[in-house]
């Protein structure tokens, strides 16, 4: 398999994640779509680690860093979600609209 196949797959997943993040109403799903986008990026890292101009393990390391940060982000995001739910009794993104004008 060539590099472009992996990159295309990552692109498709990224687009799915992006679309979901922009349109889904449930905050949990929005967060998980963001995870999907990060995963797509990780595929790129790892694919370049193997098929890039200079194959090396650095891509793997970066993928791991990204996973770590993504995990942290998921934790904080869900904590924020819980706090939001407690104050507004909802998990819908479109009801979090008081920050405007």
């Amino acid at each position: 398999m060539t590099l472009s196949a992996y990159l295309a797959l990552a692109l498709i997943l990224f687009c799915i994640g992006l679309y979901g993040a922009l349109t889904k109403r449930n905050t949990v799903i929005v967060l998980i779509c963001i995870e999907l986008m990060l995963n797509a990026v990780n595929i790129n890292f790892v694919a370049f680690a193997k098929y890039g101009a200079h194959p090396s393990v650095h891509g793997h390391v970066f993928a791991l860093f990204a996973i770590a940060v993504a995990a942290a982000e998921a934790a904080v995001g869900l904590a924020a979600l819980i706090a939001f739910y407690r104050s507004r009794k909802t998990v819908h993104v479109d009801e979090a609209n008081s920050l405007k004008h």
Binding site: L9, L13, T23, R25, I32, H58, H60, A75, R86
Partner: protein, 173 residues
């Protein structure tokens, strides 16, 4: 067509199918489960890409930890499920703009990457890449590694602070 190719197609199909299913489903729990399929597919692809260590981490963190924490979040927040409830935000225009933008972005990038090939093969990474990663992390990437651990600590504390019930809120519950 080699076995690798078949494996790639199957795994890619699984990943994309998971994503598309996630977009189509209405039940939040089902959506998360659908994404688990995607995460597994990606983990398989990592194996194909000679990154066994990352694949294992992927399974542990994503398919395991993050999915579970998501399900917990859903359980904690959802008291009653209404399947007929709208699953998406905005009107037709919002969705159309989002879809068009995403498709345009995807096509433009696709035309950039479809012929990309460096002709290199990093199959040698396979096998002992855990050792290589470990060496790299503890030598070349020491400082970023330490910083990531700080980030995780901060995120941990931050999450606790955010999710902690404050006195007034507790009485309301």
């Amino acid at each position: 067509m080699s076995g690798t190719d078949i494996a790639f197609f199957l795994l890619a199909l699984a990943a994309i199918a998971g994503g598309v299913t996630m977009l189509q489903l209405t039940n939040v729990v089902h959506m998360v489960i659908a994404l688990v399929m995607t995460f597994f597919g990606i983990a398989g692809l990592y194996v194909l890409l000679s990154a066994e260590f990352v694949a294992v981490v992927q399974v542990l963190i994503y398919s395991g930890a993050i999915t579970i924490i998501m399900l917990f979040a859903i359980m904690l927040t959802r008291h009653h499920t209404d399947q007929r409830e709208r699953q998406t935000t905005g009107g037709v225009w919002h969705k159309a703009v989002a879809a068009l933008s995403v498709i345009a972005f995807g096509l433009a990038v696709y035309f950039g990457i479809r012929q990309l090939d460096f002709g290199a093969d990093g199959s040698a990474l396979s096998g002992d890449n855990a050792k290589a990663i470990g060496k790299s992390l503890y030598s070349y990437y020491t400082i970023p590694f330490e910083i990531v651990s700080v980030i995780l600590l901060v995120a941990l504390i931050g999450a606790i602070v955010l999710a902690k019930k404050d006195g007034k809120g507790a009485e309301d519950e």
